[in-house]
C-alpha cells in the first residue's frame, strides 16, 4: 500500500472511531479493506483511496471504519466483572434505588451483544428480587453489523461455549438448526441495541447507574481515552459505577474517576458523594495487606502511588 493511502485510511479511521493504526498494521488494514473495496466493485485499495478522496460518501467511510473494528467478545468475559455486578452491585442497586425501583445499565461497546446479554441473564436469575423493577439495559456499538448480530441474539456453537455455563445455555437459549443457538425472546427483550459512537454520541443517551466500557479504550490513544472517560463521567449517576477491561485503567488518564478500593476493574466518580452505592469500605474484596498503597483519597486531585 502506498504510504499516502495508508495515511488516508488510518487518519479516517482514527478520526471517526478513535482506533489508532500504527504503521506496522498496514497488513491488517489491507486484509480488512480489500473486502470493502470488492463490495464497491473496486479492484485495489488504491482505487478505494481515490474514491475516498474524490467522493466523501458516508456509507463508504462508515464501511471502512467498521471493517477496522475488532469485535471479539465472550459471555461473562473475564468472569469477575459479572460476579462483581451480581454480588456487589446488584444488592446495592436494590438498596439505593428502592424508592424508584429502576436502574439503567450501558454496555458501551457492546459488539455482538454478549456483555449486555450476560447482564440480562444475571438480572433474570435474580428476577424474584427484581419484581416490579424497571431495568434498562442499553448496548451500543459503532459497527452496524455487530448491532444487528446482537439484536438477533443468535450465536454459533463456539460462541455459546466461551464463558457461558451449560446451565445458562439450557435455561436461556433455544437451539436453531444443528449448531446455532438463540437467546430466548424474553431475555432479548431486556436489552436494546443501537448504533452509537463513543466519540460523538453522548447527547440523548440519559444517565446510567452502571457503565461497562470494556476492551475498547485499549484501541485509542491517550487524548481519546481521556475524552471518552470525561464524557462518561457526565452520563454516570453520581454514585454510579464504571467497569473497564482488564488492560484498561483511568490512572494517569482521567481524574474524573478513581478505582474502587479492593475491586479490580471497578471505578467510581472521583467526586462521588459519601453516601450511595458502595461507599468506602463496603467492598467485598479482601483487604490489602497493611502498607500496600491503595487509592483512598476522596478528592479528585489525590495522587496515586501504587
Amino acid at each position: 500500500m502506498k504510504p499516502e493511502d495508508f495515511d488516508l485510511f488510518s487518519s479516517l479511521v482514527k478520526q471517526r472511531s478513535g482506533l489508532v493504526l500504527s504503521k506496522d498494521k498496514s497488513y491488517l488494514l489491507e486484509s480488512r479493506l480489500i473486502p470493502v473495496a470488492r463490495k464497491y466493485n473496486l479492484k485495489t485499495l488504491e482505487e478505494l483511496a481515490q474514491l475516498v478522496r474524490t467522493k466523501r460518501d458516508e456509507a463508504i467511510l462508515h464501511a471502512i471504519t467498521e471493517a477496522m473494528t475488532t469485535n471479539e467478545s465472550f459471555f461473562f468475559r473475564d468472569t469477575k466483572p459479572f460476579d462483581q455486578f451480581k454480588k456487589l452491585l446488584l444488592p446495592e442497586l436494590l438498596r439505593t434505588r428502592a424508592a424508584k425501583k429502576q436502574f439503567r445499565i450501558w454496555s458501551s461497546a457492546s459488539s455482538s451483544g454478549q456483555e449486555a446479554y450476560s447482564l440480562a441473564m444475571i438480572c433474570a436469575e435474580e428476577a424474584a428480587k427484581l419484581q416490579g423493577w424497571k431495568i434498562d439495559i442499553l448496548g451500543t456499538d459503532i459497527s452496524t453489523e455487530m448491532v444487528e448480530r446482537a439484536k438477533s441474539g443468535i450465536y454459533s456453537q463456539f460462541e455459546v461455549q466461551r464463558g457461558l455455563p451449560i446451565a445458562l445455555l439450557m435455561k436461556c437459549f433455544s437451539q436453531i438448526g444443528t449448531d446455532k443457538w438463540q437467546l430466548k425472546e424474553e431475555l432479548r427483550r431486556m436489552v436494546q441495541y443501537r448504533e452509537g459512537n463513543l466519540l460523538t454520541d453522548f447527547g440523548p443517551i440519559g444517565v446510567f447507574d452502571v457503565i461497562y466500557c470494556r476492551n475498547v479504550l485499549i484501541y485509542f490513544d491517550q487524548p481519546t481515552k481521556t475524552r471518552v472517560l470525561e464524557a462518561m463521567s457526565h452520563v454516570l449517576a453520581p454514585d454510579g459505577v464504571l467497569f473497564l477491561g482488564g488492560a484498561e485503567t483511568v490512572l494517569g488518564i482521567s481524574d474524573k474517576f478513581k478505582p474502587l478500593e479492593n475491586e479490580r476493574g471497578v471505578y467510581v466518580l472521583a467526586n462521588r458523594p459519601d453516601t450511595g452505592m458502595l461507599p468506602k469500605g463496603r467492598g467485598t474484596g479482601v483487604a490489602p495487606p497493611v502498607g500496600s498503597s491503595v487509592f483512598t483519597g476522596t478528592s479528585s486531585s489525590a495522587s496515586i502511588s501504587a
Binding site: 465472550f74 461473562f76 473475564d78 468472569t79 469477575k80 456453537q157 463456539f158 461455549q161 466461551r162 464463558g163 455455563p165 451449560i166 446451565a167 445455555l169 439450557m170 433455544s174 437451539q175 444443528t178 449448531d179
Partner: protein, 123 residues
Amino acid sequence: MKSCLLVDDSRVIRKVARQIFEALDFACEEAENGQMALEACQKAMPDVILLDWNMPVMDGMEFLRALRKMANGGESVVVFCTTENDMKHIQDAMANGANEYIMKPFDADIVRSKLIQLGIVEG
C-alpha cells in the same frame, strides 16, 4: 497438582485434551472407554473427568451412572465432551450427574472458561 482423567476413544482427541489440561497444570491420565475409566477411578479418583459420550465397550453415559454410584464417585467433576450437541443429550447428561458439557469441536479457551466457572481453575 490437580488430576484429570481424559476419557475418549480417539487418541488424537486425548492428545489435544492432554495438551490443554497440562497447560493448566493438571496431571493427566487417559482411558479409551468407560470400562477403563472406571478401573482408573477405582485406583485413584481424579479431580476432573473429561468424558466422551460414544465409545466402544462402555459409553460415557453408562460410565457416568456407574461412577456416581461409587462410594467416592461424587467427588469428581465430570465434564462431558462430545459431538452430541442437541438439548436432549445435554439435559440427559446434566440430569445424570454431569457438572458441565462441552460440544465438540472444542479448544483451550472453552475448556479453560468452563473450568474457571466450575471454580477449579483461577480466572
